[in-house]
Symmetry: D2
Subunit: 292 residues, 4 copies
Amino acid sequence: MTQSIAFIGMGAMGWRMAAHLPKAFSDVRVWNRTFSKAEAHAAEFGTKATSIEQAVQADIIFSCLPTSSEVEAIISQYPPKNGSIWIDCTSGEPSSAKKVAEQLAANNVAFLDAPVSGQTIGAERGTLTVMVGGNKAALERARSAMEPFSSLIEHVGDSGSGFAVKAVNNMLLAVNLWAVAEGFTALKAHGVNIDSALTCINASSGRSLASEVTFPQRVLNREFPLTFALSLLAKDTGIAIDLAHTAKIPAPLLALTQSLYRAASSSLPDDSDFSASVKLLESWTGIELKSN
Amino acid sequence: MTQSIAFIGMGAMGWRMAAHLPKAFSDVRVWNRTFSKAEAHAAEFGTKATSIEQAVQADIIFSCLPTSSEVEAIISQYPPKNGSIWIDCTSGEPSSAKKVAEQLAANNVAFLDAPVSGQTIGAERGTLTVMVGGNKAALERARSAMEPFSSLIEHVGDSGSGFAVKAVNNMLLAVNLWAVAEGFTALKAHGVNIDSALTCINASSGRSLASEVTFPQRVLNREFPLTFALSLLAKDTGIAIDLAHTAKIPAPLLALTQSLYRAASSSLPDDSDFSASVKLLESWTGIELKSN
Amino acid sequence: MTQSIAFIGMGAMGWRMAAHLPKAFSDVRVWNRTFSKAEAHAAEFGTKATSIEQAVQADIIFSCLPTSSEVEAIISQYPPKNGSIWIDCTSGEPSSAKKVAEQLAANNVAFLDAPVSGQTIGAERGTLTVMVGGNKAALERARSAMEPFSSLIEHVGDSGSGFAVKAVNNMLLAVNLWAVAEGFTALKAHGVNIDSALTCINASSGRSLASEVTFPQRVLNREFPLTFALSLLAKDTGIAIDLAHTAKIPAPLLALTQSLYRAASSSLPDDSDFSASVKLLESWTGIELKSN
Amino acid sequence: MTQSIAFIGMGAMGWRMAAHLPKAFSDVRVWNRTFSKAEAHAAEFGTKATSIEQAVQADIIFSCLPTSSEVEAIISQYPPKNGSIWIDCTSGEPSSAKKVAEQLAANNVAFLDAPVSGQTIGAERGTLTVMVGGNKAALERARSAMEPFSSLIEHVGDSGSGFAVKAVNNMLLAVNLWAVAEGFTALKAHGVNIDSALTCINASSGRSLASEVTFPQRVLNREFPLTFALSLLAKDTGIAIDLAHTAKIPAPLLALTQSLYRAASSSLPDDSDFSASVKLLESWTGIELKSN
């Protein structure tokens, strides 16, 4: 029996993720608020641009939107059909996932929070990591629909767990990057060759994706290409700190990091890449983090 | 013309580093305060256990001691011979390196601060990273003496720069590990499967050596094997923060991290591994960071 | 026309506040879950111990309970009579005040969030500060009922504002006290006479209620008398940080303070006074904050 | 026997402090690098503008300069006469006081670190607080020379203790002010009347000199009058954090505060009053801390 698939949200991630689906499925419906993007996707990748009403009648519905609010708004206005599986790849809020999953379960719809990691390059190559919260049996039924765009699909717990892991992942990226920026500012202030220093640290115990990839490829070359908005990372750090807060757990390092990214996000232009957060630090020190 | 080499300090690192030298040099002298360790090294690796007076007459003298104070004490009491090169592999203080390098230069001795990264396993395998501060020509003259135990030898700047890079590296390890601990505590508090979460994060942008190696191999398995003392990491974070402080640079994230490791170091037993720092956080939350 | 007054909650604060009411009103009803406390109050101060059903039929109803949850539970089970004014002196949550005020307004009941400051001694003397959020006209109608126990009654804004100001006040107490503790630990570590130092600082620009009252009267004398539970202050810092968080405002100093009090609250015995928070710091330093 | 007094440094504080001395002493010498200020002081207050060589021949020599470096420079170039007492009212560094005191003791000169608190208004009125480190007997011999400008003279410990207490005092001012700014930003974001809120808090446990004086008289009225430079307060927070650092004591709240003032100091114009530090926070939030 053939499954119909829908993908809601043709943003930088959704566009690339949905592009892999026609390899495995014949009925792939795409929808986007600015509908011309859905039509362009259909023209380029052989998907079908449909109305939102048709999209939510698919067996499996993906959504990939800026925040949980947009997802909740669509689901409440256009409820998915009985028996379907809704897979939300948004970097959303755990509490929202719990609420929506419970509401949809009443209509025999499974809701999986399934945010992805790997950025646009991973979406392009189909090598994303998918961290999935919600019913495990539903994940198994839907796994084949995620495989075209991912190289790791991991069940991490009940509803909301996927969003929680994604938020913590992004928080760690935020911490690691800011720490690199502070450390290298101190090194530069002392006349150390920071390119050589980075070579050493990336061969040592202080390394992180932030030091190996983000810092050289976005900061030191002063390019700050916009692929992941600073405002979205600031939002994600807020979701992570909410986890600590609702559990009444002290998380001093994460809380400070969240304040720093909030400050950076509101101080810098709206279209800043997350890596541009270091510019807030630079404004305090007068030291530019740039290759020699 | 044959060079004579000496290695001062047969600790966990020095013992293994010096073991590689006889492959490349015929006159390798070793010395240790507890002299029986030097004799054991000679017996096992074909080095020569000599007096400290003979050690400092070598062409190239390595030192690998707990802190810069021990190095300064030996150099002032037993000055190296004219024309030699002193390579200090201690995780020392940049200000000490500057002072000692200037003093020794007056006697035509080059002093290189050359701390290593890679822990005991890297020393064993001869794959350490050496970050070198000081005169570049002296480094080139001494490079062949470092090659037996290292896979990367990088000149990072003037005297003190090597120590500075090492301190920042260790600070980044400290930040990254503590952040992982806070993040996973929050996840566990929400019932997330933390082993699966770690799999996801280690395939994603939040990963670091702390999340890939330290957390699973020392913390989640509750082993905390003592290979790098918490008190030494706390000291290193102090050196890193001194860099920011003397340059009058704000470094809020590093400063907070330093306070947390100071607190951990004075709260936990003296023989704690650096990874045991997470136990301080656990004492605040009642949540144990342990594999499922 | 005579007003009837009720007071719900005979805790350390409520007991003393209600004791002033019979001076100005003839019908003062008191209720407490452990009813014998209400009866004891009636016997001692000439109030009337009534059922909760009778209490909520008063013209003006005070509540003073541990948290907003208890207040919400009572109001939903025992709705106040039409036309009455409910004055909640709990250190509650702004979001709860907004919700309850809206619900009660539908039944023509005014809800004022009116937390008090001044501790048990201020309640005893009738010199509390009352910070009031909600309808200003309702406050004026109810002012005479608050006057017996207060020397300052201030309208600070719409519903929730009173709770917000109280939470920020308590957060500032928390910040100021912890900062004093860190500063005096550093002074003591350097051999400074901390009693003389306190005399100087309390005559200087660094002074605060924490340094003038809390530190000498609770900490330096090692008495830590339980009059305001650490767990409640930790809760209040959580309410304050929620204000920053929901407004997406960076508040690094308050966020760190909140983490420290969370850590202190979960590390120390349940019946600890808020001033005992300094013991967490002492456990990190081995330095006791005690008069010479 | 009459004592001769000298006062070195006719800045905003020194000018006013020295003005009180002729009431009690007949031989009062004043010196300033820009000598015309010394002459103006002599003309206005009946002191004598002398050369620096004559100044350091006085029985008691006061200095009040920007930092310890200036004091050390003068003392090394113009050593005070044998048997004199040097009273340094600079907000200086404890380690400098220890060093200078030891050096001068060899020439039978007592050095007291005696910083003052009370700002220009306290200097004007002669009501400063003097916190004195060093030899207690020397303080007693010199006490009458300090009494004209102070209402509290307190011995706080050995050499350096006075500077340490002053640094901690100023750090506490810095912490308390920044915390007020964060708290009131959160309140304003929620629509609370911040003038009324301040009235409440200043009658409650969260109050401090920062909330009672600095915030209303410098910030909320948007005047930020320059009487104590932000750069000097940033320096003082550095001295305070050095105390914690050299004692290897964790001081997370003070360390964060220091970073914030460093950032503020380097982000804001050079002639900013310390109270203008809140503008850094305002740049992150878009919320102006201004009376209604």
